[in-house]
Amino acid sequence: MATRIALFAVPILLLAFAPWWLLLASVVVFVLFVAFTRRGHQIWSVTQIGLATIPQRLGSSSVVVVGIAGVVAVLVALLAMAQGFAETLKQTGGDDTAIVIRAGARTELNSVLDHDTAVLVSQSPQVMHDPSGQPIASPELVVVASLPKKSTGLDANVEVRGIGDRAWVLRPKVQITAGRKFKPGLRELIVGKDARRQFANVEPGASIKLNSQVWTVVGAFDSGDAYNSELWGDTDIVASTYRRGSSTTSVTVRLTSAGAFDAFNAGLQADRRLQVDASTTRAYYNAQSETISTIIRVVGITVAIIMAIGAVFGALNTMYAAVAARTREIATLRAIGFRGTPVVISVLGETVALALFGGILGAGLAWAVFDNYTASTLGSNFSQVVFAFKVSPALLWQGLKWALLIGLIGGLFPALRAASQPVTTGLREL
């Protein structure tokens, strides 16, 4: 009995905690064992018999497959949502750029920096200069506008970012995909790829009313990150439209090197004229994504656990029925000299095979439907952030691990029952 319990405990522990290489090694060892030992051959032949009877019990076998597919699909989809959101924001940041906001503000929208502060920050020695000798620093002003969404027709918030002329150097990833850049000094905007897709009437050429002034959309851009959810214009003009005078909400700078941040931050903190918080843009955007992606992840795992419990019981039912249907055959095998363990492994193998199939089905479904599925939510600047679900190989692997775990647990008791049935009663059955 103890060895049989170990038969389950080992793979379950491996699945739950082991790194992939240890798991792979264990699988290889097991395959070699089956291929080259006498006991292994026994296991293989008993398992084959079991697998061969699956078509006869298609209905109940499909319960295991579909049950597990459901769990894995929901798990992978929800985690892909969390991952997609986190990654969209993560990509927005880097280690060699830093963002400075007013002390305590936490998000750009809450922050106000006066003109002097912006100038002082850009004069920090750790800020990189461009060939013309200008510091690569962009004082930016984030405000929120309300525009109707294409999908619902209802107003939703969109972030309008006023940027300085250094912003283009600061964010070399940004590409103009339609029209042209806005001209400084004019009421012109360019629209991010995702904002363009999400909001009505923001195509290049369209006019938008912001605070009773008419702005023209002159182009569209693609940055490949969270900026795609924004509209960009000239800081000074956005400030005058929103009556912000010469104040800004943040200054983003390119540092001389990725390692320069600590010195940069220390310099700002030491300057008594400044009351600011600085962080690398990577840290800043990670923090922005943390709350929401954690919520989604927790919800996803909770839902999946509850579903998994349901699926385990479904698998138990199916496998008990399978063992019951095979009682005579198993007893015959035992009578002619097969030992209990191959029988246990064969039932286990069958469950795991079904589970694996279900896992692949569920993960595949989640991948097919949800990879790059776009959604949006209210980000920390009280405006829409568009993100794409990200079904990564790591998530697919995680889904498969769940499937195998459910299969192993669901196969445990039926397999033990199969092996512990007395041979004589088994032969009399039917």
Binding site: G67, G70, A103, R106, V143, S146, A311, N317, Y320
Partner: protein, 387 residues
């Protein structure tokens, strides 16, 4: 009712199978209960009756933009307006950002607009008379162990004080409570004196974030809203006035399409459940064919056999559903205290029970249909002879 013991006996024929199936059903309905609560919480925001006689006036560009205080007297003069108050979103943090709760600086008459917030009259009075006064809801007070008389330090995220300090120290003068269980989430908020806020803040002085308007007659909501917006039409601070619940609803709808996500999960869950219980029922009927034949021999009509088998499936589903919803109820009660914000998670109430049980009955009928039909159609002579 006299057939109940027959149904029960049928279910108990294979105890393990029934129990396993029950647990699967239970898990499905536990999820249903929990997710339905969440989506109800979101739906409640737009469906709640409270606040229909209150309007909110915000900047048309974005509610994050301020409005001039001069609007106050002008709004008050609009016919149909009973009372006007105003507030600023403060967004302060208590001790740690993870302790999020809404906090706002509000005009001294603000609490008068909310008679549903129960508070002793002397505390209401104290709020108007104390410069650094704050009131909180009962749930929030419990969460941090606050008592009237306590000093509460809030860290500003938006509004530093004139000296540059981010710390605002408030005096707790009152604790209100909300009786409607569906609006309990409103107790998770803090309000403090706008006059103190305005004189001490570094910038934006004299500006108001949101005007709250109480109507004389809620049927005039549309016309009054239009009249208020007309006050600042074509100015540089155009306004948008809407009822309190449509304001919150539009904000909530921007978070995510909760209905879609919940719907997606639940369809995956119930699709699986139908297959699973359908399989159980098919097995149960298959192995009972001779017994069903006996019932028919004795004189049970085909229809009553059909009804018995359908009832068996429905009872199985309903039992599991009841168990799942009961557990969901316990979980929600345990969790709802921890979730703050504008969102009130309702208890697993009659509506959810009703929907859940109705769903269980429908699924029971669906999964029972095929096996039950088979039981109904069986020919006694064949079944008895084992064909």
């Amino acid at each position: 009712m006299k057939y109940l013991h027959l149904i029960w006996a049928a279910l108990m024929r294979r105890k393990t199978r029934t129990i396993f199936t029950l647990f699967s059903v239970l898990a499905a309905f536990l999820l249903f209960g929990l997710l339905d609560c969440v989506s109800k919480a979101f739906a409640n925001v737009s469906g709640s009756v409270a606040g229909v006689d209150r309007l909110l006036t915000v900047s048309k560009v974005s509610f994050t933009l301020a409005l001039p205080k001069s609007l106050y007297t002008r709004i008050q003069a609009v016919p149909g307006v009973a009372q006007v108050s105003y507030l600023n979103w403060f967004g302060g943090v208590y001790q740690d950002p993870s302790n999020f709760f809404p906090n706002q600086a509000v005009a001294e008459n603000y609490l008068d607009l909310f008679p549903e917030w129960k508070m002793p009259p002397q505390q209401r009075q104290a709020f108007k008379q104390t410069r650094t006064a704050a009131v909180v809801g009962e749930s929030l007070a419990k969460r941090f162990g606050w008592k009237v008389g306590d000093k509460i330090p809030l860290e500003a995220t938006i509004f530093p004080q004139k000296g540059g300090s981010n710390t605002w120290t408030l005096d707790l003068v009152g604790i209100f409570h909300v009786t409607d269980p569906n609006a309990k989430g409103q107790e998770n908020a803090l309000f403090f004196n706008w006059n103190y806020f305005d004189e001490a803040r570094q910038f934006g002085n004299g500006n108001v974030g949101i005007y709250a308007v109480k109507l004389v007659d809620r049927r005039q909501a549309d016309s009054v809203a239009k009249a208020i917006d007309a006050l600042s039409a074509d100015s540089d601070h155009e306004t948008k006035t809407q009822t309190e619940q449509s304001f919150t609803a539009s904000l909530v709808s921007q978070f995510a399409d909760i209905g879609l996500i919940v719907g997606g999960i639940m369809s995956a869950v119930f699709f699986t459940l139908v297959l699973l219980t359908g399989n159980t029922m098919a097995q149960a009927v298959r192995e009972r064919i001779p017994e069903l034949a006996v019932l028919k021999t004795i004189g049970f009509t085909s229809k009553s056999v059909l009804a018995l088998l359908l009832a068996e499936a429905v009872v199985l589903l309903a039992l599991g559903a009841a168990g799942g919803l009961a557990i969901a109820g316990v979980v929600v009660v345990a969790v709802r205290g921890q979730v703050g914000g504008q969102l009130s998670i309702p208890p697993v109430g009659l509506a959810i029970w009703g929907e859940g049980i109705a769903l269980a009955v429908v699924i029971g009928l669906v999964v029972g249909a095929l096996p039950a039909f088979r039981g109904m159609r069986l020919r006694i002579v064949d079944a008895l002879s084992g064909r």
